[in-house]
Symmetry: C2
Subunit: 457 residues, 2 copies
């Protein structure tokens, strides 16, 4: 098939959209380690998870046997409002680079949440509604997840209580207003509305908050308010399951034109996008049906895969959540204040951690100034202004495409463009003004955080 | 055809995309009045326009005979990166409203400029490049047009000098950074880089600028710098021509499913979106092949159509540009400071003005608090957070759909959703906080501005 027979944007028809999510755990030889109870260190049961999460979502969290889980029709109808997302052939970028490589990207930014987060938010809101709940609670940092959840809750007429890290609440008023537009109640964290919030404020007066603290407040409200549950936008198995829609659509779009990628590249924070994008490709790889290079890209300032430990750790800094076995920098780890590129979670999805440990995927860490340079290079040719998170994948995709110029290889590169950077202009401004620099933690610093790992054998 | 046979989003195939723009002037019985020279009051000639605009664009500006003008392949290739834009069936909104009406909207917000402005920006940049120019100059208020032009210029490696109204430059730093990401030089206006800027600063020290002043600075730089021309994002005939891509795609998508709209609704500021959206429908109406209600929606605080005069007026407050015959509030008119909803231009496209004067379209003015309420109602169901400008059309579309509940009529409503509101959260915040109010100019106030109309018979 010659190049121009493939359109600039491959859209699936509505009837070609996936009707089931793909659960890569079912195909994994070494299953991801189970969540364990922080006190007993025993695997969490359905009963223990149910006070925190919706029942159906607990089942999905524990299900490592069913390869396909049907997407309820109501969720598919919602998906149809903003999906299928386009798989875009980067003809303009290829020409500009002068590379023989063929570059495709799956663009998840064409919805108001600005990212792929909506794919799981709508699923989690749906199951909460199904269970007859009144509402859900969550935390948000930069606000992408909070926005997605607000949209999903407004669609299903659910209450949505968002604890937003105080520094972001104050510095990102626009994100806050988007959430309010969708009817969410947004509280700066730490707050005086929870016991744990009050305690933290007493101990650290004037603190501007952290994601870990916001999680603790959201979980407290969910478990102490009748009719509420807590929801999370990444890391969990259920989230990766919902995000498999990204990979399934990508695979279907490629198959439609007989395209076989050499490599699939995604950015990795908690793993929601990467896990979703790669899952069907990983499934084929595990089953020995195909081989792909699968590459996770993370920031050098928060290098969970490339410099972390594979160990049981707390998911939150408040240490109220179950423990997960994952590549982690220690739950006390916080990226340097100059880090503007997102992907700042200390750990990594247990599913991806196991796949990485099994040697089924690679990981590369990149410095943020190079990430923003790649973002700008991409934006100027392909039009789309990418989120800093997504730009990690762009950076490595560009590097690989440039290698092909030297080698002459016509490699097919697929990467995930998870979202847009419209609410990240402060970071872009730093980059333009030359006040952005790169921070790489020293081995000594990392060692200090590893000491916060819990003593689980 | 039953409802669900029509998908949520109708996308044209790449090979179904229009290959020519449609020039509604060719079909108009009463042609729009020509631009006239501010000194001689004689129609502007190609020679007189050429120092300001690119040659090919001058020809397009004056061409009221050719119904179709081919879209150059390079522009079509660029269009393919973000077009065709979807025509969305608002199934969720219909269900929520409980209306028998069928609602469709053409969504132009899925590109980084966030609006339809890119459709003309890329065309104007292309012709500048073709002519061998070094760059272009323009003005921008809120920044939508400036962003679109920056993207277009970066694609064609053209210099882009944007004069941004000082108050916006300071209050909307994010828009400024987006433009800088695309390599544009953004100068707050009035500036000391132009003669007229210096003069204005001397006369009005501390002024925060106006669109009229920014236009004057941009024109001065374009006409005094070798290799530069001035470009504009609305009002002009050439802009409406380029924007006809919106209407042509809409018509093609409707035709594909045999859908005939009862009404076509668009917001109207300078007229670029409305003119583009309605042009093929208007063409059929003029030729007697079909009948549609065509509705322009404008803010009550800037009511050019509904309360303006149809007269020759200055296009800019600096009075350096040619005069245009249009519905106008007078070039001195500035909407009240509390006006947050965009669409603040004092005049209206000469093409649309003539069509309105001929009774071929209606105009409705709406108060801004109702516009934001409609925006929020729409966002919560359809997901997309609309630009305040676009929300004027939403407001009237919702009103019409609600009328159908009472009458039981199954009307087919098509409206233009020109863009997203991600950079308008300050306005949404005012709405949420209840600090937004409605301003309607008194007759006396309008009379005062009408006195600024030039004495042209």
């Amino acid at each position: 098939m010659t190049a121009k027979e493939i359109p600039y944007k491959i859209y699936l028809e509505e009837n070609e959209m996936p009707k089931a999510w793909y659960n890569v755990r079912a195909d994994m030889v070494n299953k991801p380690a189970p969540l364990i109870h922080p006190g007993t260190h025993q695997p969490m049961t359905l009963e223990e998870l149910s006070p925190v999460f919706c029942e159906e979502l607990c089942k999905q969290e524990l299900n490592d046997t069913d390869p396909y889980i049907e997407i309820p029709e109501e969720i598919r109808d919602f998906y149809k409002m903003y999906r299928p997302s386009p798989l875009i052939r980067a003809y303009c970028l290829e020409e500009k680079l002068g590379t023989p490589a063929k570059i495709y990207y799956k663009f998840e930014g064409n919805n108001t949440s600005g990212s792929h987060k909506l794919n799981s938010a709508i699923a989690q809101a749906y199951y909460a509604k199904q269970q007859g709940l009144k509402g859900v609670t969550t935390e948000t940092g930069a606000g992408q997840w909070g926005t997605a959840l607000s949209m999903a809750c407004s669609y299903f007429d659910l209450d949505c209580k968002v604890f937003m890290v105080k520094v972001s609440y104050e510095q990102k008023p626009f994100r806050r207003e988007v959430m309010r537009t969708y009817g969410a109640e947004v509280t700066p964290s730490p707050s005086t509305t929870t016991e744990i919030g009050k305690k933290i404020l007493e101990e650290h007066p004037g603190t501007t908050g952290s994601l870990g603290c916001a999680i603790s407040e959201a979980v407290e409200v969910a478990t102490s308010t009748p009719g509420y549950r807590y929801v999370l936008g990444s890391v969990l198995n259920q989230v990766l399951l919902h995000q498999s829609i990204i990979g399934l659509e990508t695979k279907a779009a490629l198959d439609k034109y007989g395209i076989v990628p050499d490599m699939v590249i995604g950015c990795a924070g908690g793993g929601s996008n990467l896990g979703g994008l790669i899952s069907p490709f990983m499934g084929e790889k595990i089953r020995g049906e195909a081989d792909y290079r699968i590459i996770a890209v993370e920031p050098m300032s928060c290098p969970s895969f490339t410099r972390g430990r594979y160990a049981y750790d707390f998911c939150d800094t408040g240490k109220v959540c179950p423990l997960a076995k994952m590549y982690t920098l220690g739950s006390g780890f916080i990226p340097a204040p100059n880090h503007a590129g997102g992907l700042r979670y200390h750990g990594m999805s247990p599913v991806l951690s196991q796949l990485y440990d099994d040697g089924l995927m690679e990981a590369i860490s990149v410095p943020q100034t190079e990430v923003f340079a790649a973002a700008e290079e991409f934006a100027r040719v392909e039009g789309i202004l990418p989120a800093p998170e997504s730009s990690h994948a762009i950076k490595v995709a560009l590097d690989e495409a440039k290698k092909c110029i030297e080698t002459g290889e016509e490699k097919t590169i697929v990467f995930g463009l998870t979202g847009t950077g419209y609410f990240d202009m402060v970071a872009y401004e730093k980059f333009h003004n030359g006040t952005m620099d790169d921070y790489i933690p020293t081995d000594e610093e990392l060692e200090k955080y590893f000491e916060t790992l819990p003593p689980v054998e």
